[in-house]
């Protein structure tokens, strides 16, 4: 099948979903009111509450949610074949992500722009906000672990990407000094920085960097050595003021996102590649079954709970007219679905044209451990359709993913530091409060331990443990989505509206997540993976807790409808 046809099918589905289903949500479910005074007007201050044109807001919303996660999940999920992966991306985006992102904006806007954490305590129950914090703790731990492994795998497989990935650091530091210390415009330096980064790609190809010698000297595997180096870098990066490295890198990342999306879709259009990967793959024995694992492997790109943080954190505060929540929320979800589509195309059509797809996806270990390598190779092929050598194109794609993953880890470790300090305060462990270096070390060591957990690097380089870590990450992301959908459902029920649009994806997600967690429990126990077993059990408890909270809140509202949330 021509890859181009998948783009057409997906875009047509998204078009009709936007035209009909999002209209149904807007008119019948959320009942958007063009006369409702949004928080952006009611509390207009020009700082946080600013009525903003819907096109500006969509740009803000989309660039805030886009990251590396919608690439990793689909790149693993095509192991079960492109058809299940694409079907979940399309249906998940239309019936779950669209409802979730759109609804999060509406409920937050109807509650003075309050964020989803506060709303969980207000709309579901007081305990739910604690649940929210705990889910975030686990999610950040897993985010940092999986992206540490992602970067290590990419450096190991693409030693030519090390030089350009390193070049980004001085470029970003220079841009930071130029913009924040000298007070200059950032456009020209960031474009020059991007060009310099791309110019470093052939240099990196000519001078690949290997750490084999170091690994041998310290008696570790290459991947473990890279993981430790990456976490050491993250410790330092997360201790720097954000304007030195993190913020300036945003500009380069933003440009990279646009360039990468453009070249992938352009490469597909020009190359007219066909998909040689099977529609439904006959997977190796002992592989995880697609049902339920597909639905937690692809979180971002089908539905991501963390979008509710963006939707309720800033987007709802800038909503000029309530009716525009449809364009921004539902439209943003479709944009994220398009990113996932790009990843599927790269790992099926691109990878298939560049090499042996069946060998690359021989088993789940190869599929998950090599997922980003497959994306990189596939994207390299699409770039070759544009006349750029495939090896250079592959390094380009590796650099895109590495810079995104590096930014994610820098942010994730900072956030984990805040959460650890909060937990220390709550637990009365005063020795930790205010000890930034110690907190940062803990925030690094916890995910580092997970990344290096027994079995993590001893699977013959296949990275089987990475796939399991990734699916655990997916469960926490889906639990966050479940919490947001519970809030939306209870809010709808309190207004005597049909809550099925939120309830169906909520039940589906909770069912798939708890089922996958249960299967994992048995698997981890059988294999003696005790650390993963404890993590999985803890997340399972959170999932069960969420089920109880959601059920209680729905029952309460069904029996005694109240204005579960005061409207501004």
């Amino acid at each position: 099948m021509p890859a181009f046809l998948l783009i057409v099918i997906t875009l047509v589905a998204f078009y009709f979903a936007y035209k009909f289903y999002s209209r149904y949500l807007a008119e019948k479910v959320y009942r958007l009111d063009p006369n409702f005074v949004t928080p952006a007007h009611a509390m207009r201050d020009g700082v946080d509450f600013v009525p903003t044109h819907k096109h500006v807001l969509l740009g803000h919303h989309f660039t805030s949610v886009a990251g590396a996660a919608p690439i990793v999940g689909p790149a693993i999920a095509v192991y079960w074949g492109w058809l299940p992966a694409l079907t979940w991306v399309i249906l998940g985006t239309i019936f779950a992500a669209g409802v979730h992102d759109f609804g999060s904006i509406v409920v937050s806007a109807r509650n003075r722009g309050q964020n989803i954490g506060t709303l969980s305590g207000k709309v579901v129950s007081a305990r739910a906000s604690t649940l929210f914090l705990l889910i975030i703790f686990f999610l950040l731990t897993l985010v940092n672990a999986v992206f540490g492994v992602v970067m290590a795998i990419l450096f190991e497989k693409n030693p030519g990407a090390v030089v350009p990935a390193l070049i980004v650091i001085p470029i970003a530091v220079f841009i930071g000094q130029w913009a924040y210390r000298m007070g200059r415009s950032i456009v020209i330096p960031s474009i020059l920085g991007l060009l310099l980064l791309y110019a470093a790609i052939p240099v990196g190809q000519a001078y690949p960097i290997y750490v084999d010698g170091l690994a041998e000297a310290v008696g570790l595997s290459v991947r473990t050595t890279w993981i430790i180096l990456i976490f050491a870098y993250t410790w330092i990066a997360s201790r720097l003021p954000v304007w030195v490295l993190l913020q300036p890198r945003d500009y380069i990342n933003g440009q990279q996102l646009i360039v990468a999306l453009a070249v992938i879709f352009l490469g597909v259009l020009i190359g007219w590649d066909t998909i040689s990967a099977p529609a439904v793959n006959e997977v190796a024995p002992n592989s995880p079954h697609w049902f339920p694992y597909l639905f937690i492997t692809v979180a971002c790109g089908a539905i991501s709970g963390f979008h509710s943080l963006v939707a309720s954190g800033t987007t709802s505060k800038q909503l000029g007219n309530e009716t525009e929540a449809r364009f921004v929320g539902y439209g943003g979800a479709l944009g994220e679905g398009a990113l996932a589509l790009a990843a599927i195309l790269a790992c099926t059509a691109g990878l298939g044209a560049a090499g042996d797809w069946n060998a690359a996806y021989a088993d789940f270990g190869a599929a998950s451990g090599g997922a980003l390598g497959h994306f990189v190779t596939g994207t390299g092929h699409f770039l070759s359709n544009l006349g750029i050598p495939a090896t250079l194109g592959a390094t380009f794609a590796a650099v895109v993913v590495i810079t995104f993953a590096g930014t994610t880890m820098d942010t994730g470790v900072r956030l984990q530091r805040y959460i650890l300090e909060e937990i220390a305060e709550l637990a009365g462990v005063k020795a930790l409060v205010g000890r930034v270096n110690l907190l940062t070390t803990l925030a690094v060591l916890i995910p580092l331990g997970l990344a290096l957990l027994p079995g993590g690097d001893s699977s013959g380089g296949k990275g089987f443990a990475f796939g399991r870590l990734w699916t655990l990450f997916g469960t926490t992301n889906q639990l966050t989505a479940g919490l947001a959908l519970s809030i939306i459902g209870v809010w709808l029920l309190a207004r005597n509206r049909n809550p099925l649009a939120a309830l169906i994806p909520l039940v589906f997600l909770l069912f798939m997540t708890t089922w996958a967690l249960l299967l994992n429990l048995g698997d981890f126990f059988a294999k003696g993976d005790w650390l993963l077993l404890v993590m999985d059990a803890a997340i399972f408890v959170l999932a069960a807790w969420l089920v109880v909270e959601a059920f209680t809140a729905f029952n309460r509202e069904r029996r005694n409808p109240s204005a579960a949330a005061e409207e501004s």
Partner: protein
């Protein structure tokens, strides 16, 4: 607000032909943006996770731009006021380009306006980037914006205007 008194009531933020003046206030939000996906939004002030301290410099700019926003909204109610993060480049760059060209700027002037608008903080009036990178005090910015708004614009005639007899 003292600045309001300097505005000619006849201007009221409108150009000849009824079009409104467009002011874009550029400032970074106090949170991580591109590349970290949704996780970056956890560090915001609103999430009660303590992240705002890291972004205090951005917060200070947000507060100043907020002050300018409120003053302008009060002084010239008809202005088309937009507050945007410079990392929202998909919207910002084309918007400044279009505005500059619509107000008669040549290609190089328009490109320069775009290049200057992409800064941690900037003020753009009708496609003309008045400040980039640093802002003087609010009163100075207000005076410059109001002077620009009251200045006759060399705007190209719109299609509607061209159809006028």
């Amino acid at each position: 607000m003292s600045s309001a008194s300097v505005v000619d009531p006849a201007v009221r933020g409108r150009l000849a032909g009824g079009r409104v003046h467009q002011v874009i206030l550029v400032r970074e939000q106090d949170a991580q943006h591109s590349g970290s996906g949704c996780c970056g939004r956890l560090g915001e002030r609103h999430t009660a996770l303590g992240g705002a301290a890291d972004f205090s410099h951005s917060r200070a700019r947000m507060e100043q731009v907020g002050e300018i926003y409120r003053a302008l909204a009060a002084a010239v109610p008809d202005l088309e006021l937009t507050v945007v993060d410079p990392r929202n480049l998909v919207w910002l760059y084309p918007a400044v380009w279009r505005a500059a060209r619509a107000h008669g700027a040549g290609v190089f002037t328009a490109l320069r306006a775009v290049a200057r608008a992409g800064a941690p903080v900037a003020v753009v009036v009708d496609g003309n980037t008045l400040y980039s990178g640093r802002l003087p005090d609010t009163q100075t910015v207000m005076a410059a914006v109001l002077a620009r708004v009251q200045q006759p614009s060399p705007a190209r005639p719109t299609a509607d205007a061209q159809r006028q007899p």
